[in-house]
Symmetry: C2
Subunit: 241 residues, 2 copies
DNA sequence: CGAACGCATATCCTATAGGATATATCCTAT
DNA sequence: ATAGGATATATCCTATAGGATATGCGTTCG
């Protein structure tokens, strides 16, 4: 019983609404451009409007929603191909830096950072699940977590936050990736992880750079494939069960 | 009467509360660590709690406030010296890129971008006002606007938003009230502006880099000066008029 | 036939009341 | 005297009602 219970982390309905909505947005259950009705959401979640409003305000500040005063909130539209390229340009600036610093610190003797095994396990992608869609979701989340972990291990909160903000938008596009690229991703992630564990800053930086280059190519292919068949899920999200 | 009225930009009480609170934080009227009572603020602004909550949620997502569920909001502590350095590292990555791209586009024939004169006028810093504190705030805002404008003129919304979300000026202003050499800043801004107007990408990039380097040096001096005298205003902000 | 005006509805925004939780105070026991 | 616990208060959080605004539709006029 000597365990230090860090505290049950009290959370409110506003927190739950925030998590729920963010999840729906990132899974494209709420499609880009969709209108979010406040009391519609309130009824759907069986809570009142006040916590919904609070969650929406946070998501807007985070860039996932757009707000027009006295009109309502809408889901941020998908990136254009130009914006997509710009986003990767920024990742190419920031994430190799994060990898380098992370490697400078290494994975041992840090209260805040990860362990070597933790990083390795995060680099790995989950096994194929039965449900293809679920598998896809797990992969995108695993990918996101790995990049976030590398950033966090850099020890720079500023850098970590900046990377996370970029990632939120990228996440919307991960859903369009081909499943066969999962294997490649895992290999590249492991290269980054091992360089960090071995405390080889330059190697880690370069490994991340290469990973992003190839990732960009893969995403771009998926992007243009999606262009041909206009929308993978053309059904309207009216949220009226 | 032929003027196109872009619309009176409807705003809500939540918006007003947001602006008001942000302003108070930036002026250190609300000091770091200060507790913000929700219905205290509501009574003080003579509005109800709901819009206050919404404003607080936004400010929290923006990093100016910290929230503990069921306890309350507190003003975020100032940047540490490490975070200060990290912040400038990121600016040094992103803003020279923005300056380069901005120079590639130039300042003419763009619907979105600025005019040459517009950019020049933004490079200039405002005159001194009576109130030193307000004067300092105006300078910060002018500086912020110039950097934002250079970013916007790059044509990349992703880059622009990423730079804005760093909220560099916001945090720097909070931390260091020492008046930075206004003259130097203006000269450096003009160097950047002219390089952009002349469509010299490399020169613009380099000018921005040099400006940031010197700005970092200036701020750093103020930072360490502030370190010696621990807190400029040791009085508690209990906000009980 | 097209455009403009007015009304009706849906939705947002704000205010207020009450339940739930954390913190401070006071008391008791060792 | 100090540590531990119970009570009281302050504050947060949630729900709900009502005023205010934008949008859609039908009608009317040019």
């Amino acid at each position: 019983m000597g365990e230090i219970q860090v505290w049950p982390e009290r959370h409110t309905l506003a927190d739950e609404a925030y998590v729920e909505l963010k999840s729906r947005i990132l899974q494209s259950i709420l499609e880009p451009g969709a209108k979010l009705s406040i009391d519609g959401l309130a009824k759907h979640m069986a809570i009142s409007q006040t916590p919904i409003r609070e969650a929406l305000a946070r998501l807007e500040a985070e860039g996932l929603l757009a707000r027009r005063p006295l009109v309502g909130y809408t889901v941020t539209p998908l990136l254009t191909i130009t914006e997509f390229d710009d986003l990767f340009d920024l990742r190419m600036l920031m994430e190799p830096l994060a990898a380098r610093r992370s490697a400078e610190r290494g994975t041992d003797r840090h209260d805040m950072g990860t362990t070597a095994d933790g990083l390795r396990s995060m680099a790995r992608t989950p096994e194929y699940a039965h449900d293809a869609k679920l598998s896809q979701l797990e992969f995108t989340e695993a990918d996101s977590r790995f990049h976030a972990e590398v950033a966090a291990n850099s020890g720079s909160t500023v850098l970590t936050k900046a990377i996370r903000r970029l990632d939120a938008h990228l996440h919307l596009h991960r859903a369009y990736m081909e499943p066969e690229s999962i294997g490649e991703t895992e290999v590249e992630h492991l290269a980054v992880a091992e360089a960090i564990i071995a405390k080889k800053p330059l190697a880690a930086e370069e490994a991340m750079r290469r990973h992003l280059e190839r990732s960009r190519t893969r995403h771009r292919a998926a992007f243009e494939a999606a262009r041909t068949e206009p929308t993978p899920k053309p059904k309207r999200a009216k949220a009226k069960p």
